[in-house]
Each structure stands twice: as structure tokens, then as C-alpha cells.
């Protein structure tokens, strides 16, 4: 039967077992796809410990229910504003900050005047403090990965982020390739950047049968720029490593994916659009939640189609 390799997104996470349980449950809940009952094996590529000292206590953290977004004190300093960065990194960050339409490094409590808020953001019913904090986490995690920054999550333990996370992903995909049946990668948020990077740019990463991205920031130019060499707009589809579909599910009001949600035109194969961009409306204010993506009808419909199963 099939095998699924999951990879999580930005921010700290609960322990690997708990996180995988949360994801599988989100998939199975409400008459969804019950991997265990269907005999489908799965593995979570876990990288939160590369950037964070210890697993978060609140289940799901940045991916959990709306209530978990009532953020208290930051668990770690995720502020890149005062970090000493090289000139190219500063330039890159400035570009990405510009996309966010507000100053992500500002005072957490500051809300911009209404006339400064673009129509895009006006529609997002999230408190500014939450949005800004999320974007800080996003900027930091994506920066550390793409620039292979050293991270010391615990005393005496230092990782070059990209090298370490790439190694974990590629090894998990190698294990998945040894299983029977189709092998699918399901990636969320920052996990889509990591999985794409490996599938497109790491030669030893084995091929998979299908690729599903949810809540992905892969549409952003700044991220695409850092996926070169390898990525080009006309030949960005990792056709050597994705034998079947690449389905990209987004919610317009997801603050991460919503910046540039449809990606088919950015990841073509020989100049032809190949990625299936699918819009899904996640419930509630916090639309970036992995659980909400996994629980949505469009995502589940495509997963069931790829797995050739019927759920309850």
C-alpha cells in the first residue's frame, strides 16, 4: 500500500510523534482519510528541533487551532531585525518584507493606519500582533534555511540549517521509496520550500509518485531566487523527481500562501503549466493551519484520488 512523507512548516512544534498524530488525526477526522485503517504508512520529517530548543507544549503551535494563536511571550527570539546579516541577506530580507505590505520587524502591538493597509490585508481577519509575529517566524525560518545559517538550538549543538534539514528530508524520502506502493510527499508552509529544494536541487533525493503542497510560499520571487540554480520559471517543475501530480492547495486568506497563492505559472515543465493550483476555503480566522488544510474537502479529494481510495 502507499506511503506518505509529511514535512511540517514554520515555527516550533510539539514532539515528532505528537505532531504526526495531530496531522493524521486531522486527515482522518470528519469522515476523512484514515491512513491507519487503509494500511498506509507515513513518516514525519521533523526539523523544528533544528531551530528551537525543545518541543512546544501547545499542540500544533503555529498550525493549531485559532485559540493557540493568542500568542504570549515569544518562545525564542525570532527577531531578525537586530541580527548581524551580510549585505545580500539584508537585501533579500528587505525584498521579502516589502511583500508583506507592513513592517514585520516593528513593534508587535503596532497596527498600521487604515490607509496604509492594502486591500489584500484588509480582508485578513487576524490581529496585527499575531500577523506580525507569524511573519517574524516566517522570515527567520525561511532565511535560516535558504542561507544555510548556523543554528544552535541547544548548548553545544549547532547545525547548518539547510544541510541538516536537507539530510533529514532526503533520508526520509529514501526510506519511503523502499515501501510498497505509491509514495507521496505532503508538505506544509516552509516544508514546501524544503521539499521542493530537495526534489529539485539535491541529486541523491529519490523520486516520488506525487507531491502535495499546502499553504505554500513558493510563489514568492524572493524564495524562487534562492532556489537557483535549479529553479527556472519555465522549467521549475521537478519532473525528474515527481512522477505524477503536483497539487498545490491554497487559501487566499492564508497570510503565508496568500501572498502569491497560485504557483503553476512559476513552476512549469518545458514552458507548460503542470501544477494543479486548487483553492480551498479553510474555516476560521487562522487559515494557515495545517490541520485545516488537511481537513478540507479539496485537499482530501485530491489525496483520495491519488491514493485511489474511498473514505467513509
Amino acid at each position: 500500500m502507499a506511503h506518505i512523507t509529511f514535512i511540517h512548516g514554520i515555527g516550533n512544534k510539539p514532539s515528532i510523534d505528537e505532531l504526526q498524530r495531530v496531522w493524521e488525526r486531522a486527515l482522518a477526522d470528519a469522515d476523512g482519510v484514515d491512513l491507519g485503517a487503509e494500511g498506509i504508512t507515513a513518516e514525519m520529517v521533523y526539523w523544528a528541533d533544528v531551530m528551537y530548543e525543545s518541543p512546544s507544549v501547545a499542540a500544533g503551535s503555529h498550525e493549531s487551532a485559532d485559540t493557540a494563536m493568542e500568542l504570549g511571550e515569544p518562545e525564542v527570539d525570532v527577531d531578525l531585525a537586530e541580527a548581524a546579516l551580510a549585505a545580500d541577506e539584508e537585501a533579500w530580507l528587505a525584498g521579502l518584507r516589502g511583500k508583506l505590505n507592513f513592517d514585520a520587524d516593528g513593534d508587535d502591538e503596532y497596527a498600521p493606519p487604515m490607509e496604509d493597509i492594502g486591500a489584500e490585508f484588509e480582508r485578513i481577519p487576524l490581529p496585527w500582533a499575531i500577523k506580525r509575529r507569524l511573519m517574524k517566524v516566517f522570515l527567520r525560518d525561511v532565511h535560516h534555511y535558504l542561507f544555510n545559517t548556523d543554528s544552535t538550538p541547544r548548548p553545544g549543538e549547532t547545525y547548518p540549517c539547510q544541510d541538516e534539514i536537507r539530510r533529514r528530508f532526503v533520508e526520509a524520502v529514501q526510506r519511503g521509496a523502499e515501501q510498497d506502493g505509491p509514495h507521496i510527499v505532503i508538505a506544509h508552509s516552509m516544508g514546501t520550500v524544503i521539499s521542493y529544494d530537495c526534489l529539485k536541487r539535491v541529486p541523491e533525493c529519490p523520486a516520488v509518485d506525487a507531491y502535495m503542497t499546502i499553504g505554500s510560499p513558493l510563489g514568492l520571487d524572493e524564495i524562487q531566487d534562492k532556489l537557483q540554480p535549479g529553479w527556472t520559471r519555465d522549467d521549475g517543475f521537478p519532473h525528474d523527481k515527481v512522477r505524477g501530480d503536483w497539487v498545490n492547495i491554497y487559501d487566499h486568506l492564508d497570510p503565508v500562501a496568500g501572498l502569491d497563492p497560485a504557483i503553476a505559472n512559476d513552476y512549469r515543465k518545458g514552458g507548460v503549466n503542470m501544477v494543479r493550483d486548487v483553492q480551498q476555503t479553510n474555516p476560521g480566522a487562522w487559515r494557515h493551519d495545517a490541520g485545516k488544510y488537511l481537513g478540507g474537502p479539496q485537499f482530501r479529494g485530491h489525496l483520495a484520488r491519488i491514493l485511489e481510495i474511498e473514505s467513509v
Partner: protein
Amino acid sequence: MSEPDAAALVAELETAAKTFDTTSATSICDRLIAGMYRQPAPIDVKLAKQALGLLRSMRAFADMRRLGDACLATGQDGAQIVRQYAQALIESGALVAAEKVLLDLASREPLGSAEGDEARGLLGRTYKQMYLDAGNPRASGAKEALQKSVAAYLEVYENDPSKTWHGQNAAEMLLRAERDGLAIEGPDPRVIARTILDRITKAHEAGEADIWDLGTARQVAMVLGEGDVAREWLKRRMEAEPDAFVLASGIRQLEEVWGITEDDLAWGDMLAVMKSHMMEAGGGQSIQVDHLPPEPEAFEQRSGGLEKTFGSAGAVTVKWWTLAQERLRAIARIEDHVGTAIGTAFLVKASDLNPEWGDDAVAVTNAHVVSHPPAMRGTIEPDDAVANFTMLEGLDPIEVTELLFQSGPLDLDVAVLRLASVPEGVTPVPLAKALPRADGEQRLYVMGHPLGGELKISIDDNVLIDHDDVKVHYRAPTEPGSSGSPVFNRNWQLIALHHAGNDRMERLHGEKGTYQANEGIAFKAITEACARPPGVG
């Protein structure tokens, strides 16, 4: 036994409780009890209380009784221990013994103290059970038991109106007395219900309501006849993920005190939701199913209201439970011509087994239930067998006309039977594409007629242990006589044909040793064999 030893055993029990591993729980209890008798001092009260609580959460009342007995016998007779012991007595039907133990406890613990109030509440529960067990309001002692039940509950509630559970029970029993035409002394149950509902609503708004409060609020809303309010409270309670014991209490209250069945148009949907959650939670019993919605459309229509209240989560459980009921309709009791029950059979689409057999449904059972020549003593010939679909009212047992395929008890233990007719409107059970993951966390569901009795769904400790290509081992202590039952995954797809259970089942994959397990034949192995024949043999 030193305290660390006892603590280690209780920790083991906690692990067993998480997976409803009642077999291990019994063995842990044995060791705990043996250790208690070896020590000069009684077991620590906290450990004893924790162990009894764990057994209660698994509904392992026989073990709970044994452990309670040992605690009391070795001098650990704290009020909490006595109360839990009494609870085990009630749950296992020893009502007179429970009454004596609780009367003694109530004389020790004053009204208004935590344990005194609990003891009186359990006394109310004991008398309530005596009344319900009588099954006849005019039976000798029945009215007296009902009056005592109301009095015990009311004594606590009137002394302390924050004891809403006691008040709710008093209100429900007073309402029951009205329905049964018995004149019982007491206040208007609706006044009690309104007071309690207001109180819990306030507590809930202040974030102070616990899981029992949610159940109490649902039940008093029912006393007031406020269906939408009751469903809202049920939703809140299900969201709090109650354990099997909590769910069973609610189900029992609906079935026994209210006399509700799933086809009850006013309240049956709530029972369906609770039963489906119970099956998810697992926990120590089979659910007997003897009521189906009269028409699927009627159920659909009725569950519409529930879906409105429950949103997608509620719709799921109703849908899931509806699917379970659809499977039940495809299950028959195999009987001989004089009605002796032999085993269970179920319908599958013939073409799922062999394309040449056509699109009609055929019945599948064990070869040790039906085969030619009879595989063993007690097996009957196809000519002597009929299929009795007990869930389908007004349908006579259907003759077996042909043995399409069989494989002996030591091989696949299967017989495929063509019936003289196929009941209308019954969906054959669908086959799973693959066996569930053998990761110790997958639940299975076995449906059948244990010992030829009523159709039951086994939800007891039903965890998949291991499988290979032919055999599936699961820890679902199906009652004896479940031969020929279908084994389903959580999506109600067929994965195996149940055929045996053994305390010393040999492990799979050539591993040494044995364990307590049931064994089914992987249905994929059966479909492959059926596609291969020619003919029987």
C-alpha cells in the same frame, strides 16, 4: 509488595488502560493483589484509588471488584475505596451487596461531606437500577425502589444545590414515575431541571463546567423537553472527548431511564451519536443492536437536525453510525432448519470474489459452520442451512442453494454460499483495499451473532495486533460463537473473516511464543483463492 512495586504495576495498568488491553489488566491485577496479601501494611490509598479508577475507565468491573475486595480485606478501607468497590458491584449487577456496602458507608460519612454525598448518590443509583431491572412498575418492591432512589438523590441535592448530578437524577426518576403512572413523593421535576440548567449554563459561561456538568445539562434539558438545547450540550460533551465509562453512563441513562432506541424520532439521534463515539473510545463491551431506523430516508431526515447542531463533526458520527447500521443489515445468522444457530454469515458481491459468479450478493461464512462434507462436529451441510437476516423485520430465513467455494478449517476456513434470494435494499459489504497498519493503534470492529444470540458489534479492546498475508490477529475478545463474522476497519470496509480465538495463539511471521488473540482470515487471501478455483475443493 513495596510501594515502588505497586506504583510500577499501576503504571503498567495505565498503559493497558490506554489500549483497553483487558487481558493485561487482569494479569496486572493478579500481581497487584498477590503483592497486597504479601505485605503487612495496606496498599497506599492513592495507588489503590488510581488502580480502581483505571479499571473503571476500561469498564473492567470484574477486576475492579477483585481489587476492591483485596483492598478491603487487607485493611485499605478508605471511603473512596469503598465507594469505588460499591460502584464495581453495581456495574456487575450485585445490587443488594452494593446497597449494604453503601448503607454502611453512608452511616460512616455524614451528609454534606464529599464521600457522604457520593455514597448517597450511589445508593440512589443502586435503587434506580433495582427499579429498572424489575422491568415492571407494578413488580413487588419496584415502586419502593423508585421512591428510595428519588429520596437518596434528593437528600443530597436539597442539602446542597451545587450537587447537580444528584438533582438531575432525582428529576429524571420523578419524570419516569410520571410516565410509568406511579405516584411518588417529590417536587416537580421540571422545576429542578430548570434550576440546574441555569446553574450549569452560568458555570459553563465562566469556564467552570466539567465534563459531568455537560452531561447533566443535556439530561435536564431533556427533562424540560428542549431538544435543541439538549443537542447543544451533547455536542459540547462530545467535544470534551469523554472516556468509555462516561459515555456508557450517558447511553445507559438514555436507554434504560428514558427507554430510547436509535429509531426514536425525538431523541434517537443523540443515542446514535453517543454510541458511535463509544465505539471510537472502545471500552469493555459489545453494543447490542436490535433497532434500526425504519427507513434510511427517515434517519436522514431526522439527522438533519442533528447535523445542523453538530456541524461537520456531528454529521460524521451520524454518517459513520449509519454506515455501521448498513453493514449490520448485511449480516445473517446461519441456522439449521429447526432454527438452531450455528454461526454468522455476511453478504458480499459475488463478482468481488469471482467475476464468473455474477453481480448478485453471496453469503460468506466459515467452513466449520457450513461445508460439504461437514468439516467437523457441529458443522452443517449447505442443504441444511438457512440465512436469517435478523435486522430485516418480516423476512423469513433464506435457503442456501449452492456451495460455490470452500476451504477447510485448517486452511482458509471459508465457505461461499449462494442463497435462494438476496434481501432487497441490502448493500453487500465493501472490501478494503489493504489491511490496516499493524502499529498497535488500529481499531477493528467485529459484527456477529455470538453464541447464536442477538446481533452485536464488538467494541471491546478491539485492537489489531499483527497480520501477514493470510492471517489477521486482533485483541477483540469476541464472545464464543462469533464464527463467520466479518471484521471491519474503521471505515467499515471488510478486512477479514473471523474464525477463531485462543489464549495461546501462535504468533505470526515465525516469531516464537504465543499470546491471547483472535484470528481472522485476511479477506484478500479469500478473494484470491476464490478467483483461482475451479469449483469446490
